[in-house]
């Protein structure tokens, strides 16, 4: 197995498209563990850490740009991530333990696309757009369309995720990533990512996604619409929770049965709303 650390994105893309068996290495939190367990055997590892353009957070106009190799810890610690983007920061803060947060990157987390991870739901709730770089240019993929299935994204094999763009709008919004797990630092049994804007008692914006509830974040436009414009009464939230629960398709595993996971969605949604109100 070869290891290369290109200094630029074009260079990295060239290596990636020349070799079907090459793979990007970001923080390595997941990939190195997979290598150790013999789950993957890439011919070449392309280390991304020297590519400056992939690193760091910047605010430009209507969005916040989070470079793919930005670590969870950097995201968790950046107080520019407010309003709509607060849900992403809140998710970063709750990933695993500090050792993992110091290593793992948002690019690695979303490209791995573990449905139990925290960023996928948060990015959907924040209406984020993922920027994919290929040799022929860049394309923008809404988070809703990025996460396809268990460990599967709409990123092409010869593309590298370059950044995550989180809209600044709506400005007065608040975000919460409510994570419920067996122990501190475990993956979520269920997570609720919620962005709400409330103007004089009424909800003017709502986006909610449920993580660990199926192969990809569960997001229903219908539910956002139900909440938006409502007074977020207990009855409304119950209805919203019911719909999300019906749409959820979780698995039975060591973290809980599918039935249990579905059952707690409405209550956790209510809690997330209460915490934001």
């Amino acid at each position: 197995m070869k290891y290369i650390e290109p200094a630029s994105l074009p260079e990295a893309l060239e290596i990636l498209s020349a070799d079907d068996e090459a793979r990007c290495l970001a923080g390595g939190a997941t990939l190195v563990a997979m290598l150790n367990a013999d789950l993957v055997e890439p011919s070449t590892l392309i280390g991304l850490r020297r590519i400056d353009e992939l690193a760091g957070i910047s605010v430009s106009g209507d969005h916040i740009r989070i470079g793919a190799t930005t670590t969870h810890a950097q995201i968790a610690g950046d107080d520019r991530l407010t309003g709509n983007a607060a849900v992403v920061r809140d998710a970063a803060r709750q990933i695993a333990h500090s050792a993992i947060r110091n290593m793992g990157t948002i690019g690695g987390a979303v490209c791995h696309a573990d449905p139990n991870a925290d960023f996928p739901g948060a990015l959907v709730a924040a209406n984020a757009v993922l920027e994919a770089a290929g040799q022929s240019g860049r394309r923008q993929i809404p988070a809703d369309e990025f996460f396809l299935d268990y460990l599967e994204t709409s990123l092409e094999e010869d593309e590298i995720l370059s950044a995550v763009m989180v809209p600044v709008e709506p400005v007065g919004a608040r975000g919460r990533h409510l994570k419920f797990s067996r122990t501190h630092g475990d993956y979520a049994t269920i997570s609720i990512s919620l962005v709400l804007a409330i103007n004089s008692g009424a909800c003017s914006h709502a986006r909610v996604a449920v993580g660990s509830a199926g192969p990809a974040p569960v997001h229903l436009a219908e539910v956002d619409a139900l909440l938006t414009g409502s007074d977020l009464s207990g009855e409304t939230i119950k209805q919203a929770g019911q719909k999300l629960m019906e749409a959820a398709d979780p698995v039975d595993d060591v973290r809980g049965s599918a039935e249990y996971r579905r059952m707690i969605i409405p209550g956790l949604l209510q809690r997330a709303v209460d915490e934001l109100r």
Binding site: H97, F180, T183, H184, G185, T189, V254, Y260, G267, L268
Partner: protein, 784 residues
């Protein structure tokens, strides 16, 4: 020379002091040497292949491709090994399966290669052909007449006791006192329930690890992560067909054991690989290998029925315990009897019958684990007492106080209680926790949560088996202690050093603790049964006293005085009482002994823990207590209180605060005792709430730290109050008793009882996962 009372009056202040761990700095700075840190010249690396199937006949094994892989030095299968069965009470296992596998993960082949990657690659080249057999995974199904038989040759194995008839039974025990059949008529309240307890993994930080080397004479030396060098030596010798004189075992620093590294782990197979290759071999398990190939706590089912009078007097109990011993017997023949023995708890129940089984299943091996059967029985017993109190409308702590064993009572089976401190523990934990106020409402819960408080009482033992210690006076007046005891992280090296320092009025750095090594250490059973401080400590103390007496003899001759007039002064000085100038440093005594008169000064002591009395056959029916009808230690007592919050949406339980009152006799090192108590509670928080090994049709589905969850720092209660009761035990060194296990007996029921207090629902199956708690809450709601 003197009574304990007299000695106690002049206890050196080092006894009771929170002296820092002697190995603390090296551990904190990463300089401690564990087995895996050891490298020998020309050393090979080994890995084992585990069986895919839980129950299958091995039809063929083809190792030719693995042997042909460059870098591979040996590939062994069961057929290559001598037919030397090993096991503690039943010799039923071989280092590698032969003919048949009895659990998924059971080692079937071993490879030694130039590096670990090559060894692991070779494992993938081994071709196995199996004929699958139906696995037995449920304890009750195992006892059914038509159950598949796991050990067809069970009755041919060398066994130390009489086996029950049921072919999958490992052992059966029955104790009966009074007349439990007719006593039910006298009861005003009766509760009956079925309790389920999980298989818990030891999760020591350091997976099992051994380095083995054979010298030119054929003598095998092992460095191993073990709880007892003499035990590892004995099993390795047995497996290899060598006399113990040809096997040497050394224990480097150990990263935890909790019972899982008692008896043997991977020592025999590592030694066999070293023999086969003629080169040193290291075998360190991955976490997954350790979880699938090694040992665990017994899961199982407990049926229990308890009756009481209106005033809360306990009258009768009937109990049936069926523990899952897994594929091989290991310590099972003692674990289920201990569970039976403690199923009465520290209370008077005049009419009591208990039967306990250990059964073979096609799951991994169950073994010793902190508490040794007692946590299982106590989970049932203490849960049931709370339900009984609820039915009687009594405070559960009052109910326990009403029935607590007192000094004149006998323990179950007619055993004498050395110091009845149950009441003291209950009162202490009641007062410290603010029980009454919290029980009747207390502080409000956080939004969306319900708050509750619960408690458990418990008893256990401290003792067991043989211990020896040697204390040598060095030429410069310092001393070396050699007792062969393995510190598995609980701090016994420091405790023994304190005992020697305390007995001889030396400073800590004047005492050298010699590492356990079967070539030089006196016999030591192993680190188990809460025995190090009490049983080994006593040998250490008496060996030190022996040195003191020898020093006094010399000093008396030199100073021309009666030895009764002598005293020890701090730092290695003997002097005449009341005469400050009449003093001799130990160096002078050592010099005289070595060069002038008498010979080297060596203190020694050995003893076998021997109970005061036998179980009383007149008092009760006794059947099948495998080995230790006389008792396994002196009694210890404790009481614990847990305060929890239960999430109304998810059912998740958070333990907020914890109080634990324990009778420790005497805390030799207060911080260390508190560390034991806190560690036991947090470990069993996992047992209570999150930890369970899961199998799907015999294959383990969570053998990783990602899937099997132990509590971390953030999951521990914000405060654990360790409340020490120090009533010196006469037979103990400075009065000290062991507390390593008893602290782990109470948390599961205390937490389950707190859950019930919070939400009104009984969770009779642990771990009390959020899902189980929520389900119990819903059925309690439905019942209302």
């Amino acid at each position: 020379m003197s009574t304990n009372m007299a000695e106690n009056q002049q206890i050196n202040p080092i006894i009771g002091a929170s002296v820092p761990r002697i190995e603390g700095p090296e551990k904190a700075t990463g300089r401690a040497v564990y087995t895996d840190d050891i490298t020998r010249p020309g050393m090979l690396h080994a890995a084992l292949l585990g069986s895919h199937y839980p129950h299958a006949r091995i039809l063929s094994i083809d190792t030719s491709r693995a042997k042909a892989l460059p870098g591979v030095k040996a590939v062994l299968t069961g057929a290559d090994l001598p037919l030397n069965y090993i096991g503690m009470f039943i010799k039923d296992q071989l280092p590698l399966a032969r003919d048949k596998v009895c659990y998924s993960g059971e080692p079937v082949a071993a490879v030694a290669a130039v590096d670990l990657a090559t060894a692991r690659q070779a494992l993938r080249l081994i071709e196995m052909e199996y004929e699958e057999l139906e696995p037995v995974t449920d304890v009750e199904e195992a006892l059914e007449p038509d159950a598949p038989v796991i050990h067809e040759k069970r009755d041919e194995y060398p066994t130390m006791y009489e086996l029950p008839e049921e072919p999958n039974a490992i052992c059966f025990t029955e104790f009966m006192e009074g007349d439990p059949n007719t006593a039910w008529d006298k009861c005003d309240a009766i509760v009956e329930d079925e309790y389920l307890v999980p298989a818990q993994y030891h999760m020591y930080m350091e997976p099992s690890s051994t380095v083995a080397e054979v010298d030119g004479s054929g003598k095998v030396t092992l460095w191993s992560s073990t709880q007892g060098v003499a035990r590892s030596q004995m099993y390795t010798a047995l497996a290899l067909g060598l006399p113990m004189s040809k096997v040497r075992v050394i224990a480097p620093r150990i990263g935890g054991g909790f019972g899982g590294k008692c008896e043997f782990t991977n020592q025999p197979i590592t030694a066999l690989l070293a023999q086969a290759t003629g080169r040193p071999v290291k075998l360190t398990f991955s976490r997954e290998d350790d979880m699938t190939m090694m040992k665990r706590r017994h899961g199982g089912k407990i049926y229990m029925k308890t009756g009481a009078k209106k005033d809360g007097t306990l009258v009768a109990r009937d109990c049936r315990i069926i523990l899952d011993g897994g594929a091989y017997a290991d310590e099972s023949p003692e674990v289920s009897p201990v569970a039976a023995f403690f199923s009465q708890g520290p209370y008077r129940i005049p009419n009591m019958r208990v039967e306990a089984w250990s059964v073979y299943t096609n799951l991994s091996r169950a073994s010793a684990f902190r508490g040794f059967g007692n946590p299982q029985a106590t989970f049932a017993s203490e849960s049931q007492l709370d339900d009984l109190a609820d039915q009687l409308g009594m405070d559960p702590l009052e109910l326990r106080l009403n029935n607590a064993l007192e000094q004149d009572d006998k323990f179950f089976c007619g055993k004498t209680i050395e110091k009845a401190t149950m009441r003291a523990c209950l009162e202490k934990v009641r007062d410290a926790s603010g029980w009454a106020a919290k029980r009747s409402g207390g502080r409000p819960a956080a939004p969306g949560k319900k708050r509750g408080i619960g408690m458990a009482g418990m008893s256990h033992i401290s003792g067991l088996a043989g211990a020896g210690a040697n204390v040598l006076l060095n030429e410069d007046g310092s001393v070396t202690l050699n007792c062969g005891a393995v510190d598995i992280g609980q701090g016994s090296d420091t405790i023994f050093t304190q005992i020697v320092a305390g007995a001889l009025a030396l400073d800590m750095d004047q005492v050298n603790f010699a590492a356990p090594d079967t070539d030089s250490s006196p016999y030591q059973f192993q680190t188990s049964a809460s025995r190090n401080t009490y049983t080994i400590g006593r040998a250490v103390k008496k060996a030190s006293d022996d040195v003191r007496d020898q020093i006094y003899r010399h000093a008396g001759e030199i100073l021309e005085c009666d030895t009764n007039d002598l005293e020890l002064r701090q730092g290695g000085v003997v002097g005449v009482k009341g005469v400050p100038d009449a003093a001799l440093p130990f160096i002078a005594i050592a010099g005289r002994a070595l060069w002038q008169e008498g010979g080297p000064i060596m203190g020694t002591h050995n003893w076998l823990y021997t109970p005061q009395d036998r179980m009383d056959p007149k008092r009760m029916l006794l059947r099948g207590f495998a080995l230790m009808p006389d008792g396994i230690g002196i009694f210890t007592f404790g009481a614990q209180v847990a305060e929890v919050e239960v999430d109304e949406v998810t059912g998740q339980v958070e333990v907020l605060e914890y109080w634990a009152a324990h009778d420790v006799g005497k805390a030799i090192n207060k911080t260390s005792v508190e560390g034991q108590i806190e560690g036991g509670i947090v470990q069993m928080l996992g047992y209570a709430l999150t930890e369970e090994m899961l199998w799907d049709n015999g294959r383990m589905i969570n053998p990783t730290m990602m899937d099997y969850k132990i509590p971390g720092m953030a999951d521990a209660p914000y405060k654990i109050h360790s409340l020490l009761i120090e009533e010196a035990e006469e037979s103990a060194p400075f009065g000290a008793k062991g507390v390593g296990e008893i602290c782990a007996v109470g948390p599961a029921p205390a937490i389950a009882n707190a859950i019930k207090n919070a939400v009104g629902a009984r969770v009779a199956q642990i771990p009390a996962t959020p899902e189980r708690v929520l389900t119990a809450m819903q059925s309690a709601d439905d019942a209302d």
